[in-house]
Symmetry: C2
Subunit: 279 residues, 2 copies
């Protein structure tokens, strides 16, 4: 996403700043969603909201954000935006000191709309994929929550930049493939589509879910299973995905070159069709 | 610390807000220190600065904060404060979107002084200690950095609140004792003082270092070693420490009651003496 324009709402008001006592800054105590905006509306809204609210519940927020307010603000920002990205951050709120939060704390919300063009070239030409030195860790209590503690992803992304990779694979501490630094991963074994089973770690991407559904509708056999780097190396093709980028085919990985292949192109087309028509 | 008054400097200006694009909010991409202020000056300043700058280096900040500027601002805030807490947050800076940071990004700094009275009662009467359900995880790359990804501590602290504990022990995924939610831990085995060896996880507290030094100067045998919950249960006494609280003796743990004991009281007195005289 090349950003052309950014509009920000903080608790419903146009603003570009937040209280330094906000626990998002102090501790990463919050959750976020990054949502594609297409033709003036946020795509897969309900799925994003469900995950965001589930994250707030699992972090035991005393008060949940009002999803109707979030929807109204998201629609207000997205109106008139042909294509863009909407990032929503919800934090537990502001508190004066220490890890403990007062019982009456109210969540803060930040909505940021960046309108602009998408990385169409990477969807078309594909990317080089590397393997991050940075592992995905995280405990059962925090697993799968799209929370604001994202230093592992930041360090992984810095390695992508340094190495010239479009994306990198992140492993858990048992050497299992989890996901990309900002995406989920799929691999082809002939005509079968596999994606890492996300247990203790990793985020169940909305786009990942939609791809599994779209693929199944096309009669493609899709399975979630444990994958290691050797499975990737032996695969017949790979791609990464997220809500903003859609599908990026991998054209170079571990010394091998791949082409996107008809099946990946089919999924790209089906996914874009769903985005254009989705509520 | 009961906060009576709070003064905040953001990049040197009195302010209570920060850019929503700051990566501290977006990703927890920064480090912090919490420093005791005594008689108008930040205690153990150099040790705190060394750790903060080491954290910035390990997170591969392109630019480090200027420690002379930090010192000047810290002194300015602390002047006239009899007793208080100074929190310093340094983030990688603000960036427009995504985990990757631009090469020319400049760090942001937030200094918050809370003047007020300390929890003297807990130093005197001691606390009840529990064991957190929340594990300490974290990869080699992030180990020991006092970074802003603190959700594990937030969840642990919430459990302390719910259970009425003054502090709780946090274990790593191999059941080894690491530290408290906001403190380091020491236990007595007769006259020997033990503290968890911090390898892959845990923060080497400044106060922990000072206690090891003060104890050694008193002729006490101090060792860092791997500890399990059974070692705590069999111990002859326990205490937790951090730069703000000093030493809190544990008077109740795992169904047993303890008294603070002469050795712990001696260390408390020696530590306070050092704080009163330290540069």
């Amino acid at each position: 996403m090349k950003s052309h324009q950014k509009i920000i709402l903080v608790n419903g008001e146009q603003s570009s700043s937040i209280d330094v006592n906000d626990r998002g800054l102090q501790f990463g105590d919050g959750v976020f969603e990054t949502i594609r905006v297409h033709q003036g509306r946020p795509v897969w809204w309900q799925q994003h909201m469900d995950r965001l609210l589930e994250g707030c519940r699992r972090l035991r927020f005393t008060h949940l954000p009002d999803d109707e307010v979030l929807r109204a603000e998201a629609n207000e920002l997205s109106a008139g935006c042909l294509t863009g990205a909407l990032k929503i951050i919800v934090t537990r709120g502001a508190s004066s000191s220490g890890y403990a939060a007062p019982a009456d704390i109210m969540p803060n919300r930040v909505l940021q709309l960046s309108s602009g063009t998408r990385h169409q070239s990477k969807s078309g030409q594909g990317i080089m994929l590397g393997v991050s030195e940075q592992r995905i860790t995280g405990s059962q209590q925090l697993s799968g929550i799209k929370h604001l503690n994202r230093l592992e992803q930041v360090l992984a992304r810095m390695q992508c930049q340094a190495e010239g990779w479009g994306e990198c694979i992140m492993l858990d501490i048992e050497d299992k493939v989890v996901e990309g630094s900002m995406s989920n991963l799929f691999i082809w074994q002939q005509d079968r589509l596999l994606t890492p089973l996300l247990g203790q770690t990793g985020i169940r991407g909305i786009c990942r879910e939609r791809i599994m559904s779209v693929a199944a509708a096309q009669g493609i056999d899709v399975q979630q299973c444990q994958l290691g780097l050797d499975d990737l190396q032996k695969s017949d093709g790979l791609f990464v995905c997220n809500s903003l980028i859609g599908i990026w085919p991998v054209v170079k990985y571990a010394g091998r070159t791949f082409d996107a292949g008809a099946n990946t192109r089919l999924l790209q087309a089906q996914l874009e069709a769903e985005i254009c028509s989705a509520e």
